[in-house]
Symmetry: C2
Subunit: 307 residues, 2 copies
């Protein structure tokens, strides 16, 4: 089974949407990535840190999902990273109400010895110095996927650029692509970002789907139009988990296969937003995933005779 | 050859974009629709009105494109409808600088006798009372497609609703769909609009593509990601012209064929924005259209094994 190393936050989230609010619930980029990637037959390992306040049953759940947690450091005297946010009525924008780094402030990631030869590395959203620390511990991985966000472009751009230079795929949203490149057109933005290192650029556009750029080629994965988006938290990470999980499982890192990975990522993300936090993803059946992939096919397939 | 009746404005436009500005150039919904539909073997007729100031060579051009202009009234003592607008830097929003109705103020559309039995009617953006006037002159058309905009929702909603109740397909943009339905989710909005009459709802999302809704089915036509959008004027009308022109040519008004029509509309609209006004559309070759349709195929096609 292919090995997949996942680095990112494991956290508590408190979320408020027009549909309701939660107390502290399970969250974090690595959590969502791991749960999403567990839909594929991969040998995944989560590299992250939590405090002594982190419930043991959450860790058991990740293990039951097939995730190795030897790289999940527990700082007994510390507190787990906490994020709190409130979504606006359109669900496309949100205010961050609180960010408590806690144990994340001094995190030094350690990749377990038996995962240093993993084929695929998924760098979830975290400080680029931490992401680079993981890259440096790896023994020649075949594919490194980077997810990041505007926060690091604002406050750690030089560190981020060093990571970008080392990765094969970068996934960011449209506004972040514009910020990183200084270009409004996503086509021009992607071309500039490819010059910074990655051979593949994935631009996530939320309800408008995602674009995959490679050389002069473009592929467009739609988002499934939904009657109701309940909570967008974790959708991007779930996408990244589906994308990297599918690639790790197949071991095929071609452009053609990356298109399919993009569809898997989009399909899984479309479930994530249906309930608060990880709730929907934890109760996902193979049959439901299968049906949703069928929906993506019927959403985009058309007949045209080109003579 | 199938007959296609096109009603809409024939106008002068003065356009300002970040790339430059024009004097009064050829514009208008029916103009763009007609030029776009002329890419298909259809017998089209334009029903509209211009003033004595409208250049004869523009009319000759429309005739050369295969459009019958017997229903294009010329009010010799009047002035042609004039619109002037300025696009913002993001090209997604614009300010209207001037709207001079002129001869449009007293327009009574007359469908030429030999086009009253047309199979397809394309109602381009105009006052809903004018659109209704055209419907009433038609002898049992097989398909009526309506394009409209928020302006009529603001100032002639009841008239507009009567037209909507009579049509098979409505094409509007995402904000207009939300305004018309009072629903934020486009899925819910489309469901509500279908209850108002149309069996098919097309929601245009500009650079994010277009959605086709029919019963519980959804189809997503992407927009071609472009390095540069030079002038968006007429893109929606060009889309409508490609959509209705393809349907008229094939005479197949099924959901499956409408998907293909959506792709044709999107492909033609992707040319329109490459130059000011109608410039690009007037110099379009069959080979270029063919190549762009290929691009739409590679943009959306993927392999997935569902076992």
């Amino acid at each position: 089974m292919s090995k997949l190393v996942i680095v990112g936050t494991v956290a508590f989230d408190a979320i408020e949407t027009p549909f309701g609010k939660t107390d502290k619930i399970l969250g974090g980029a690595a959590t969502y990535i791991g749960i999403s990637a567990s839909n594929f037959a991969v040998d995944g390992a989560i590299v992250s840190v939590v405090g002594g306040d982190f419930p043991k049953e959450y860790i058991s759940m990740l293990e039951e999902k097939g995730m190795n947690v030897d790289g999940l450091e527990i700082v007994e005297e510390g507190k787990t990273f906490f994020w709190s946010g409130k979504y606006h009525n359109d669900m496309n924008s949100r205010d961050t109400l609180a960010t408590e780094l806690n144990v994340l402030a001094d995190f030094n990631p350690v990749v377990p010895q038996e995962y240093k030869d993993a084929e695929v590395v998924m760098l979830g959203n975290l400080h680029p110095i931490v992401q680079m620390g993981v890259i440096e511990q790896m023994n020649n991985p075949k594919l490194i996927v980077l997810d990041t966000m505007n926060f690091w472009m604002d406050c750690a751009l030089e560190d981020l650029k060093k990571v970008i230079a080392k990765v094969d795929v970068i996934t960011i949203n449209d506004e972040e692509a514009r910020q990183l490149s200084g270009e409004y057109s996503l086509v021009t933005a992607a071309a500039k970002i490819m010059k910074m290192g990655p051979k593949y650029v994935v631009i996530k556009k939320g309800e408008h789907g995602a674009l995959l750029f490679h050389k002069d080629d473009i592929f467009y994965a739609p988002a499934l139009p939904l009657a109701e988006v309940f909570d967008p938290t974790g959708a991007g990470d779930t996408f990244a988990g589906g994308f990297s999980g599918y690639l790790a499982k197949t071991g095929d890192f071609s452009y053609e296969n990356m298109k399919t990975a993009l569809i898997y990522g989009s399909a899984l993300a479309s479930f994530c937003v249906e309930k608060f936090g990880t709730e929907r993803m934890l109760k996902l059946s193979k049959k439901e995933v299968h049906q949703r992939l069928q929906q993506f096919k019927s959403l985009t397939q058309f007949d045209i005779e080109l003579t």
